[in-house]
């Protein structure tokens, strides 16, 4: 079952804020952990998938919420 280990609230932060918050959260996490990232930065739509590709972590979910913000779920691989 996919249980979110940590939620990182990066709402209100601009580039590269959400990614830095995500990287920090990931540092604390263990391999296989699922991290949820909340962001309002529209740039995160392209940046989070790119970040996953560069860093080698797995992006499981990416969605736009009703309030216009974004939610991502990332599995720590590296």
């Amino acid at each position: 079952m996919n249980v979110i280990t940590t939620t990182i609230d990066a709402r209100g932060q601009s580039c590269p804020g959400p990614l830095v918050s995500l990287a920090r959260g990931l540092k604390e996490a263990r391999q296989g952990d699922l991290l949820e990232l909340l962001a309002t930065d529209p740039g995160s739509k392209s940046d989070v998938p790119s970040w996953a590709e560069i860093s080698g972590n797995e992006l499981l979910e990416a969605e736009k919420l009703e309030d216009g913000s974004f939610r991502y779920v990332v599995r720590k691989v590296t």
Binding site: S14, C15, V20, I54, S55
Partner: protein, 197 residues
């Protein structure tokens, strides 16, 4: 490994060996070239030459993002870029009037960096920073601290430090030892991405 001649002999059977021998020679040349190729690392190096706000900003954003993405990341500060890593409290640096004048023209620290255009006697950077605050974009001085926190290597250029009269103690803490051009090139040689900003 078989030599070209041996390979050709083995390949004699099918008939005409001349085009085959030529092909083998070309394959061997390619293999030799491959051995000489530099293996690129998952690494980004930036030469921070410009000290303007609109240069030091992208420099620090890219360096922190690369580090946050798990890449090795380093920034080599040279010429005007060096003034961005002068300690905020340090006013006039240098030993002679030329170096001192240079430091007056280029107030130290990322906080005091000017815009390359729309400077408007300081109003430009102030507006820019106001916009950044409104959009919650981190300021360059915050980004430099963040970069250090994320393990970005910040390296000053020894020659320009000497030229501009900047001493190690004039610069912010947490920098690596000053280096020269060859060491900077060595650092860039195996980097997948190298930028000059």
């Amino acid at each position: 490994m078989a030599t070209t001649e041996e390979r050709v002999e083995q390949a004699e059977a099918p008939g005409d060996s001349a085009p085959f021998a030529d092909l083998l020679r070309r394959v061997e040349a390619l293999e030799a070239d491959q051995g000489k190729a530099v293996k690129k690392k998952n690494k980004m190096t930036i030469i921070a030459w410009g000290g303007n706000l609109d240069q030091i900003w992208p420099t620090t954003i890219l360096a922190t993002t690369a580090a946050a993405s798990g890449m090795e990341s380093s920034v080599f500060f040279t010429f005007w870029g060096l003034f961005a890593i002068v300690k905020p409290g340090v006013r006039i640096t240098g030993e002679n009037w030329m170096q001192k004048m240079m430091s007056v023209m280029n107030p130290g620290s990322a906080e005091k960096a000017k815009l390359s255009r729309y400077q408007f006697a300081g109003a430009g950077p102030a507006m820019f920073k106001k916009l950044a605050v409104d959009h919650q974009v981190a300021q360059p001085d915050e980004l430099i601290a963040l970069a250090q926190d994320l393990g970005v290597r910040l390296i000053p250029c020894q020659m320009t430090m000497d030229l501009l009269g900047l001493k190690r103690e004039d610069l912010i803490d947490g920098l690596e030892e000053p280096i020269g051009a060859a060491t900077a090139i060595l650092d860039m040689k195996d980097a997948a991405i190298s930028l000059f900003i």
